[in-house]
Symmetry: none
Subunit: 265 residues, 2 copies
Amino acid sequence: MGANMQQPEEVGRRASGRPLYRAIADELLAGIGQGIFPVGTLLPGEMELIHRYQSSRHTVREALRVLEDMGIVQRQRGRGTLVLSPEAQPAFVQMVKSPEQLFSYPTDSAFRVVSEDSVTLSGAVAQRLKASKGSRWTRISGPRMFESGMPVCWTDVYVLPEYATIARQLGGPNSRPVYETISKAFGEEVQKIGIEIYASSFEEERARALGVDVGTPSLCLCRRYHGDKGRVFEISVSEHPAQNYSYSLEFTSGWQSAGHWSWNK
Amino acid sequence: MGANMQQPEEVGRRASGRPLYRAIADELLAGIGQGIFPVGTLLPGEMELIHRYQSSRHTVREALRVLEDMGIVQRQRGRGTLVLSPEAQPAFVQMVKSPEQLFSYPTDSAFRVVSEDSVTLSGAVAQRLKASKGSRWTRISGPRMFESGMPVCWTDVYVLPEYATIARQLGGPNSRPVYETISKAFGEEVQKIGIEIYASSFEEERARALGVDVGTPSLCLCRRYHGDKGRVFEISVSEHPAQNYSYSLEFTSGWQSAGHWSWNK
DNA sequence: AACTCGTATTTGTCCGTACATATTAGCGCA
DNA sequence: TGCGCTAATATGTACGGACAAATACGAGTT
């Protein structure tokens, strides 16, 4: 078959308008879903697929790459194409270039430390922070305000007692996030961040500090920073007046990285 | 140059042991980082890269694919390769196996459709939904309750008028998400989901419907579903009583496609 | 100035080939 | 049986070509 003869039969094969490699990917996908290619087994080799679909290796590889990007198969040189999962693992992945974007604090706002004390968590607070009851933390509290005087939020930062000294480095107009300060000063490497979002309303003390009415709806964000071996080294709780603040996320259709599967290591 | 002559000089060019296409990708990446190819501009075309690196189109395309998988460039037929970001997007990545997990509606809860009407967005509502003022939508509204009778949320679902018929398929104990129903029925492929979270408090009508007090703090989630070419085909707004609901996210330090770039290890 | 249309450019799809490299299976041999 | 080597197999990398399709652009027209 000459290299220039692919068009006529080509058009015939992809009457649907879809690219051929995608059609092959779909058919393989269907086969995996129907159990024709069970999870844990190897897909037919490229050569056999070439025969089966009467196409080129390039096209077949393109189809297999689609499945690989979807996390459905894992390819390995010298071994073959392993079926990992019966169905697509559509992973909606939030792209966050840096943990800072999880805050998106306006840059023209300032955190003011009004108190720093050592606390032992009571049951209710511990449950809210998902920390163990009775554990000891250093709590740094204060409001964050725009330069204009408009309130951004009230923040309680809980850090491990050995990190209490960072309190002196906080505050001011363009201060860095606390986790970053700790990370640089003590060499903690942030491995995971858990965020919990919930609604509440302002109690009297904080309402007065931020200059809003008591009972104003509020949006609370509780962030837990995990360092080495998953140890939580910082928990921060921010309470925002509802009318000033909303939290946005964006998820793009992508696919879970196949590189995460460790079956081969 | 014959097709069988690539090996000798080939080995010479890739003395580092890494594939040629990766070396090209690395060089382009460095160029982007150094501002030689600024963000927002087009990368040199494939043909020029072929000349510059004296390689084949296949190899150049493989290199560009690496950058594309890393989210650094975006390719478009007839236009070129657009530089999106100056650096790798290392990142805190939220793993969500399926869009459903963005909801985490309890399975033992049911959505009940109480109204379905055609609306034209006023300015205020349009701003909240980030939709254009005056655009027309079909709105499907109703409460979601636990089987026990405890309220989960009130939901307003806005869909494009041509998708209005899906209202009949909604409701019931174990109904699927609306976006999924639309996706299957009309072939819409979800490409992006934007979520905005904010706090509010219940107005009288919804408070009565859910059986909570007026003024109860609430957590609102506004989800915008983008389909083909970024067109928004569904917007849903859920209002949850604060005491029953919180929203959790988890971010792990990693990269979007770790398996694709061994260049930095 | 705005609009239409044809052309040039650019990436997408698809075919062919060859050799490199990792893995596995099997064979021979101690 | 157990070890080491070889051959077969599979994917990875890289070269070549051609046509399809979407976009950008400019010439010409309205």
